[in-house]
Amino acid sequence: MRRFSWINATSLTLGFAFLYLPMLILIVYSFNASKLVTVWAGFSTRWYGELLRNDAFLGAAWVTLKVAVLSSTLATILGTMAAHVLVRGGRFAGRTLFSGMIYAPLVMPEVITGLSLLLLFIGIGLDRGIVTIVLAHTTFSMCYVSVVVSSRLVSFDRALEEAALDLGCTPFQAFRLVTLPIIAPAVISGWLLAFTLSLDDLVIASFVTGPSATTLPMKIWSSVRLGVSPEINALSTLLIGIVTLGVITASLVSKRAIASRQRDEQAAQQT
């Protein structure tokens, strides 16, 4: 084991300070008793209480939650289907092109995604609101889901599906009774990823929303333009908490799945 030198310690501190200091300041100031954001006046949870009585924020939170749950669920269904076809569909014309194209939205600028969706919704005459945000979020998060799920499917023993067919399953039953339970951890972490992405999104939601629906990030953004309030700090702290929880859960789920798979494989080798 190499000694942990002071150079390592310094670079580690610097790097993490760079990453987390802004958030840390935000969290600390969310417990500030003063109304002035930059002046520390003692510890208080007052702003969290204020937040709970603020109907505008609560309404926005409710919209965000609805959008996140609906869009991540839709994205998980579509993304899993896409992954299944791309990994299992056999050879068909343009498969490589499709596999490449599924990743394109990952690198597409959000502004362009948002704008193109807005044009589409106007074009087909869809009223902008929660529905359009859900659709837009589904669009960009399903490719993340399909990346996560297809990486699991690649290492999935094809013979398991064939065995299910051989034992009398229809292809859909084989998927539901054998494939899905086995890849469930990947599907769940895909869902959590989509959920967090939807929770975070400001740009695309701003493009496709209408006057009836304001998500939390949009609400925060518009309030900050009028000046940063301690309430916003409190709200942001809560958001950070939720997202952190989501990411940790997702990684734990997939880590546990990998560990159990390795355990199975080791057991298989030993016997």
Binding site: A159, E162, A164, L165, D166, L167, R263, A268
Partner: protein
């Protein structure tokens, strides 16, 4: 039908095959995996498809299971063309090389999986699963998950799972490949026992010639998508149709030569400068001067220190190498022309009593019926 003492439906023109391959060809792009195969497999047979990897044996089996469809030709099961029947509607079940046990289900649920798809009543399923667990002696492990049991037990679960539905035809894809030698030998006999008990037709794919010889009623030797020979194990071993089959099954000396003369079934083959022509018997009609191969198994060649009296064939050489295997020894004997011939003999005496050792002169001899004359 006359009462049969020996199970050989393939010799009875009146018996109907369970499976019939009819001019079956399978291509993957430019690659021809199966090349125009005609094959009949009969009910209650234990049929082995044998060949090196890539010879098409697995593709042939996957076509029976329904995972591949023939490019040309038809496959008949029980008098029905099964080409358009999807795998889940076929009266066949397959045991996969990797066993493909469902890791999220325990042993009992794995075995019950196929029965549940048939929508049978619960108690009938439970009874059948219990019966299967008894058959493979896994009653104690019914509640375990596949990763909590040993490889041999997993193999038995896989077997029980595909037998549970009482298929007309059971397909086994290298079923014993993952087991160690001792367990494999035990399981081979267990398989034969189960096959006999259940009366199911088994088709096994293997690259292990010993396994095929042990379990099968008939063996099909495949090469490059073609059936080279389909026959009982003893015929495959004693009367191979080509040097490929002779070489693939067991140990063999193959001596290339030319036909010197033929008189009825008696034939003499010139094969090396300064050596007497080999006297052999064959049913083939061979023109003098045509190329031929003489194939002889090492155990059919006798080795002695002195020239044997009255042997049909005898050659002298020098012992190059001795492989002592305990029960038998294999001698590599080099002839003056440089050819090396393997001879095998049972060690009926203690090893100290052996007449010759490395570098000693020795005589090899065999009768005129010991070897096979092949034209390809």
């Amino acid at each position: 039908m006359s009462p049969q003492t020996v199970f050989a439906p393939w010799e009875d023109p009146a018996s109907k095959p369970l499976i019939r391959f009819y001019g079956v060809t399978k291509r993957f792009g430019d690659f021809t995996a199966i090349d125009n195969i005609d094959l009949d497999i009969f009910e209650r047979e234990f049929f082995a498809l044998l060949g090196p990897s890539g010879c098409g044996k697995t593709t042939l089996m996957r076509m029976l299971a329904g995972f591949e469809t023939p490019t040309e030709g038809t496959i008949w099961l029980d008098g029905r063309d099964i080409g358009p029947v999807p795998p889940n509607k076929r009266a066949t079940n397959m045991m996969f090389q990797s066993y493909a046990l469902f890791p999220h289900l325990n042993v009992r649920d794995n075995i019950a999986f196929g029965l549940r798809r048939e929508g049978k009543p619960k108690d009938a399923i439970a009874a059948r699963v219990d019966e299967m667990l008894r058959l493979v002696q896994l009653q104690k492990f019914a509640g375990r998950k596949p990763h909590q049991i040993s490889g041999g037990q997993r193999q038995r679960v896989a077997l029980a799972r595909c037998l549970a539905k009482a298929p007309r035809l059971l397909l086994l894809d290298e079923p014993l490949g993952a087991l160690d030698r001792k367990l494999r030998e035990e399981t081979q006999f267990e398989l034969m026992d189960i096959q006999e008990k259940t009366g199911t037709t088994f088709v096994i794919v293997t690259h292990d010639q010993e396994e095929a010889m042990t379990v099968a009623s008939r063996v099909a030797v495949m090469d490059h998508g073609k059936l080279v020979q389909v026959a009982t194990p003893d015929v495959i071993y004693e009367a191979p149709v080509s040097t490929y089959v002779a070489d693939f099954i067991g140990d063999v000396n193959i001596l290339p030569g030319r036909i010197a003369a033929q008189d009825g079934t008696r034939v003499t083959i010139d094969w090396a400068e300064g050596q007497p022509a080999i006297a052999a018997r064959t049913r083939l009609a061979l023109a003098p001067g045509s190329a031929a191969y003489f194939a002889i198994r090492p155990e059919k060649i006798a080795i002695s220190a002195a020239r044997p009296e009255g042997a049909a064939n005898a050659v002298a050489g020098k012992v190059l190498d001795i492989a002592y295997l305990g029960n038998i020894s294999t001698y590599h004997v080099e002839l003056p022309g440089g050819q090396v011939i393997k001879a095998q003999s049972a060690n009926t005496d203690r090893i100290a009593a052996r007449e010759f050792t490395w570098e000693d002169a020795a005589w090899l001899s065999w009768t005129d019926a010991a070897g096979v004359v092949l034209d390809r």
